[in-house]
């Protein structure tokens, strides 16, 4: 069984953290993973940096630019992760953009993920139609889940179509925005959380974009199975480094 499915079967308040591979320093990737697991995180998204990250806000883009300048690349990331399963057990997802994956070769990329023990991918600019018509079979062959996004604007019919094709969980984007918002969740957003919960989808959902404190995390786990934190964590490590991540994660629990 895929580790993501196992985790979601056990837990209903999954704390998921995104970080950019090779940031702040090139070789921080593995220690960040180890320290995040130690600090009680349930699921980790490893950001594969891209020069033109359309769906990300300024914080994550800046960290990606830095990581690339540090020398991060697809091959470097796979090399760093080669023995990661000897030390880290939580489900791991690589989040990136389709172009670097295409250049590496989709099948070769999936092979590397399977060998290393990566459980899923998030590729925001690989839309449902192109995934199903061109890549779904390959993903299934290597048992790598493609996690798909929905937003407050996604129609009910399309949510159902995405639910049919999705594996692992559905990534609920909390708002019409790129990553990095820092307010509270509005009534309107909470209505959206409720509306999706009431659809009784086949896949569980995690909420991302805009989670940055206990209040927003709890709100996300009210109706859904957990929350994903990105920009706030990236901002934290750029200021405090990666050594004492339990200091960061305790604010959510």
């Amino acid at each position: 069984m895929n580790r993501i499915d196992q985790k979601l079967a056990q837990s209903s308040n999954v704390l998921s953290i995104y970080f950019t591979a090779g940031f702040p320093n090139l070789n921080d990737t593995v220690p960040t993973l180890i320290n995040l697991e130690k600090s009680g995180v349930d699921l980790i998204e490893i950001g594969l940096p891209f020069s033109d990250p359309l769906a990300d806000g300024p914080t994550i883009q800046a960290s990606s630019t830095q990581a690339l300048a540090n020398g991060m690349s697809t091959q470097v990331l796979f090399d760093q992760l080669e023995n990661i399963r000897a030390s880290v057990q939580v489900p791991l997802i690589i989040m990136g953009y389709i172009n670097p994956v295409l250049q590496y070769g989709v099948e070769r990329f999936l092979q590397a993920c399977q060998r290393i023990g990566i459980d899923g991918l998030i590729l925001p600019d690989l839309p449902l139609e192109i995934y199903t018509s061109q890549y779904q079979e390959l993903f299934e062959q290597y048992n790598i889940h493609l996690i798909q996004l929905i937003t407050p604007q996604t129609s009910e019919a399309r949510i159902n179509a995405i639910d049919q094709v999705s594996k692992g969980f559905i990534y609920m984007v909390s708002t019409a925005a790129t990553t990095g918002n820092t307010g509270v969740f509005s009534d309107e957003q909470q209505e959206y959380f409720k509306r999706i919960a009431a659809m009784n989808l086949k896949n569980k959902q995690l909420i991302g974009f805009g989670i940055h404190n206990k209040e927003t995390f709890d709100c996300a786990t009210n109706y859904q199975s957990g929350g994903i934190i990105g920009s706030d964590f990236v901002r934290y490590v750029s200021e405090h480094g990666i050594d004492h991540l339990e200091k960061y994660t305790k604010k959510y629990r």
Binding site: P100, D125, I162
Partner: protein, 595 residues
């Protein structure tokens, strides 16, 4: 080519055929026809035009039927006189008038002359026992003798087996009229067969349903943008076919942009290069470049979609200015994203945009140039999904943008065709040459010639300091297949898939990708690509100043420089698309030549 399905009468069948991508549906009002319509037609559902077919019917009967059946047009299939067309036109100025001629082996095409200017289309049908619907083709070679300002509809016995022959016609019809060969019984059309015909007639150079030109294109957008892109895709074709849209668009192009732009025969360039060299003067458009053809089209769309706020990206500032201009014209809020570095390089255009009331927002991420400005614009669109319309400046971005922008720019080749007919008594050139940044002026200049393989399409890319150096924007030479700004195409990138920063002295060609249509034209070898270095372009630009008294944009100078690299025959007709004027580039010219 457009499709007209004729002889429709059964309501369910009308409904089914309405779902297909057809442009006209014909209904026969002639008692002697087996397909005669005797009842009120169902409410029209679909964007096609409803045409009534009459054979020597009296004026009053036609008039009544137009009202009663809500016809968009009338096809006169008998021996009607010009006077009747005039009378119908004054009664219904918007009514599409089609005049039929039955073609015999010795048909004299001069018979069509009196109708010229009064019919929107001529329809050529086979002469036979009946006034139409004989189910046989005529000798299509006869059409080669005929030249006219009026486009024509090919009719008479067209069947599935004719797709190849139609594509080979020298004098191509605008519309194909299909009828009896697509029926399962009289008046009942076979939907699947017509669908197959439409598919086969589609060009291999146009985008498919999902927005792919061959391997290239598509909409690689995050889910946040899906509803926007999807609703644009579903609505734009219908909206731009509406008569009110066409009327507004054409009127603005004429009165505001200053179209048609001249097709200017350059005597001295012709002497220099040993061919007939024509310049398509897009530099004379309002705001100084072709970019405004597209922004006029998109702002009219935005209005009709009820959007309140316009965003755009710009590199050199030309598209930004063209967008700010139409926003001022329509009174809409305008935000233009521009790379911080470009803002410093192109300060006069920043000032122009501000004078026009736009807000210019610097893109400070990544390389701080056009590609980053595009990223910022897309992010803005993600954050403002309901009230904002994104006006993209070239044939790039997710489908349907490349197709839509090409369509708005296609007015360039539409005019070239007409102008060549007047000046050269032929409606196609031997060569069309245009520069390619994203590829919008080239797409517009190529558009109506793409199907006709006798026209050589030539694209000029910015070689920068040399296509084999690191300082280049020669995308087809140096690029590889990837995804940029929501579209699969050729782009400049590292082995690892990171998009790299291109270089050209011309800010408008300084883009790391190329539109998917051009990637396809390159890959299929339909267009030939030249890489023009900075010095070659500047020399060609200065040459035009000296020879013709025209200071071209440096982008356009790249197209002019191709003339140096070609050998022509004396009688070759060559059209160079002069995409913009050079005022914005004075400083670059001055610094380079040290005036």
């Amino acid at each position: 080519m457009k499709i007209k399905v004729c002889g429709m009468r059964n309501p369910d069948n009308i409904e089914d055929i309405s779902q297909l991508d057809i442009q006209f549906m014909g209904h026969i009002f002639y008692e002697k026809s087996v397909r005669n319509v005797t009842q009120k037609l169902p409410e029209k559902n679909g964007s096609h035009k409803r045409i009534g077919v009459f054979v020597n019917a009296p004026y009053e009967q036609i008039l009544e039927t137009v009202y009663f059946q809500s016809l968009d047009g009338v096809q006169l299939h008998g021996n009607e006189e010009v006077a009747l067309l005039k009378k119908l036109h004054s009664a219904f100025p918007n009514l599409i008038l089609i005049k039929t001629f039955s073609i015999t082996a010795n048909f004299n095409f001069e018979e069509t002359l009196p109708y010229e200017g009064f019919a929107e289309y001529f329809l050529f049908d086979t002469h036979g026992l009946h006034p139409g619907g004989n189910g046989i083709t005529f000798n299509w070679e006869l059409l080669d003798q005929w030249q006219s300002r009026t486009p024509y509809i090919l009719s008479g016995g067209i069947a599935m087996q004719h797709t190849h022959a139609i594509k080979q016609l020298k004098n191509k019809p605008d519309v194909l009229d299909i009828n009896s060969k697509f029926e399962s019984s009289a008046g009942i059309k076979n939907t699947a067969l017509i669908q197959q015909f439409i598919q086969e007639m589609k060009s291999k150079y146009s985008a498919d349903e999902a927005g792919f030109y061959g391997e290239f294109g598509g909409a690689f957008v995050p889910e946040m943008l899906y509803p926007n892109v999807q609703s644009l895709k579903e609505s734009y074709k219908k909206l731009i076919q509406e008569p009110s849209f066409q009327e507004d668009y054409k009127k603005l192009l004429q009165d505001y942009v200053g179209r048609p732009t001249p097709l200017y025969f350059s005597k001295r360039l012709s002497a220099q290069y040993g061919a007939k060299i024509y310049l398509k003067r897009e530099d004379l458009c309002h705001t100084g470049a072709h970019k405004i053809n597209n922004t006029i089209g998109q702002i009219l769309l935005a209005q009709r979609l009820g959007k309140k706020r316009i965003i755009a990206e710009t590199g050199a500032g030309q598209h930004g200015v063209a967008t700010a201009t139409v926003c001022a014209l329509m009174g809409l809020e305008c935000v233009v994203y521009m790379g911080e570095i470009d803002m410093a390089r192109q300060a006069p255009n920043v000032a122009r945009m501000k004078m026009l009331g736009a807000t210019v927002k610097p893109a400070t991420s990544g390389s701080k140039t056009l590609k980053d400005a595009t990223n910022e614009a897309i992010r803005d669109w993600i954050a403002n999904p309901t009230d904002t319309f994104y006006i993209i400046g070239s044939v790039v971005g997710p489908a349907p943008y490349p197709e839509m922008v090409a369509e708005f720019q296609s007015v360039i080749s539409e005019e070239i065709k007409k102008q060549l007919l007047e000046q050269e008594q032929r409606n196609t050139p031997d060569y069309v040459i245009a520069c390619v940044g994203g590829g919008s002026n080239a797409a517009g200049a190529f558009y109506h010639f793409i199907e006709d393989e006798s026209v050589q399409l030539i694209a000029a890319e910015a070689g920068g300091l040399g296509a084999d150096t690191a300082h280049t924007a020669a995308t087809t030479f140096r690029g590889t297949v990837g995804v940029i700004h929501g579209s699969k195409t050729l782009l400049m990138q590292t082995e690892d898939g990171q998009i790299t920063e291109p270089y050209s002295i011309s800010a408008g060609l300084d883009y790391p990708g190329v539109g998917p249509l051009h990637a396809h034209l390159f890959q299929t070898k339909r267009a030939k690509f030249f890489s023009i270095n900075d010095d070659e372009a500047l020399a060609a630009g200065l040459n035009l100043c000296k020879k013709d008294g025209i200071i071209p944009a440096i982008e356009s100078s790249h197209a002019l420089a191709v003339l140096e690299k070609m050998t022509f025959k004396k009688e070759d007709v060559v059209v160079v698309n002069l995409s913009g004027r050079g005022d914005k580039d004075l400083e670059t010219y001055i610094n380079y030549f040290g005036f």
